[in-house]
Symmetry: C2
Subunit: 379 residues, 2 copies
Amino acid sequence: MNDHIMNIEQLDTPAAIVDIARMQHNIDVMQSRMNALGVTFRPHVKTTKCPDVVHAQIAAGARGITVSTLKEAEEFFAAGIVDILYAVGIVPAKLPRAMALKHKGCDLKIIADNAAAASAIVEFCKAANDTFEVWLEIDTDGHRSGLSPDDDALLTIGRILRDGGIEVGGVMTHAGSSYELNDPEALAALAEQERAGCVRAAERLRAAGIACRTVSVGSTPTALAAKSLEGVTEVRAGVYVFFDLVMANVGACTTSDIALSVLTSVIGHQPDKGWVIVDAGWMAMSRDRGTSKQTHDYGYGLACALDGTPLEGCALVGANQEHGILAVEHDDDLARRFPIGMKLRILPNHACATGAQYPEYHALASDGSTVAWPRFHGW
Amino acid sequence: MNDHIMNIEQLDTPAAIVDIARMQHNIDVMQSRMNALGVTFRPHVKTTKCPDVVHAQIAAGARGITVSTLKEAEEFFAAGIVDILYAVGIVPAKLPRAMALKHKGCDLKIIADNAAAASAIVEFCKAANDTFEVWLEIDTDGHRSGLSPDDDALLTIGRILRDGGIEVGGVMTHAGSSYELNDPEALAALAEQERAGCVRAAERLRAAGIACRTVSVGSTPTALAAKSLEGVTEVRAGVYVFFDLVMANVGACTTSDIALSVLTSVIGHQPDKGWVIVDAGWMAMSRDRGTSKQTHDYGYGLACALDGTPLEGCALVGANQEHGILAVEHDDDLARRFPIGMKLRILPNHACATGAQYPEYHALASDGSTVAWPRFHGW
């Protein structure tokens, strides 16, 4: 890690580059949209795990953050952020660690979607003579976790908490199946399904006398596709801050919106095969092949020139740990076009997975200068 | 990170567990084989990036190590290992960093497979009034980098180095296509192809008056399948130390040899779908789906009980960042069989990729106690 300014051409490879102008544009577009829809915005920081990025989101108007691990909660609380939603169903064994954070002054909200976890929270809080604000996780698209809005278990669990002296502060849902769509009408329909389901869950809880102040929905594609957010109080989204090739295939962005890229160097050629070997393998790109089942399969990423312009007829078709194989169409002199040591930039399939491979981003300004933005790792 | 002893049941999840007895067995089997074949052994430490593991490999008889990044070279030199092969084609811009390590006393060998890199090394060394030992990378199976043993470019590049005052210390090859096989005879044939090609390259160089002392071959499957290593002086292998599900499909191990697993907790259920939700998502397992095209597709990993026994009829079919979806066949009472908070262990598809997700391993002794073994991250 170093925090002095280096030009992008001086950086060692591989390196994770954040185009600051693109990132700021993505932040501004999302925040403006949320402002127009009349909801607050709580970005999911699991994408970046980077205080420099999150401070830019807060500066643009975000209110609080969403995290996927207690380590994220601890690190961002240490970085000055107090209002934190831990949006993965709580494991009872993690309650002491969560409570320790609350005792330091963190306004940490936890979630539950089952009676066993709710009962464990009640018991823990009684023993600790303390409390948590708990939100109930709602399933609005069947892709993963959560309670159906129409299931009576929703009310049962709400009552376990309320009767145990725990505040049910809200309901939250994440329509993650939006990643599988690529049609604007289908995305708008899923956004409405996400909204309607989560609002319905809140209304049923309120009708049963359980307060449920907050109604929290979101995923990057549905946040950008929603036409109405009536009854919703806040939206969450994460990957929009950088975007990636999966999101471009979904239609949530274009490739020129993608703010994260991997800087790599040419290390060899196999002219008979039309291959250029680069030092961005799967350790640099991640093993994420999220575009493999989408309209456009980008292999391990979209190769661009150092200035960010996509290279026509090139595909990162293979990756070993520290080797990437860039297949180039119709080129009789690969070694001339791609000399040893030449630097390229690769746009990633999945910004969350690629970022996780790096201890730091290099934030790139329009003049070519970069500065290191640390990110953290682990749980 | 903590270095005090904890029982496996006390660990927070997800966590990367190394079964010490299995690891030591894997180390001993490989070293014994190399001893019997009359070659020295230079393990590839990219799998673990963990000094505790590598010291066990050295203690068993390994001579020197192989690395895939200069960071690995720097970290392991700092941990006391001097004889290091950097086995990724050198980028000329990395030569100053490599030389800095050599100046500290590291016996660092670098590799090249093209004239441009060879010329850059010669020029750099002239300007620095210093030298490197360079090995030539040989392609014996067409899967990635290297010079064909029969290509005259091999001799041209050897002469560029020699005439520039650089010692050509050896040839090295890696038959990485062995990962795509699963038949003992085909593996033995590929091991022979790897051996014969690399020895032929060395003989051609020697016939041209280029010394080429070392002949280095290897991959985990070919190292275990080779019947003769005549003419070879050393073998390299990496993943054998932990093994993984890809290697089990190749036939290089059984699932009961796999020393790395991910400790996870049950966080929810979707009984209508037969799903148990666990806190091992792709951040914990990696996105590696290396078994997807093999005989047995293990999804994101093989689920086991806390004691390491594989669970019949269970498959980790999906993974989001911090959620894994464990599909369970024929179970009417998932919540009873897999209560909230229950701990499981998941064997990974690819030990190198899964390990890279963690700042540390938890090394598990036979009495259930664990101790933290730090590993490093980045380049």
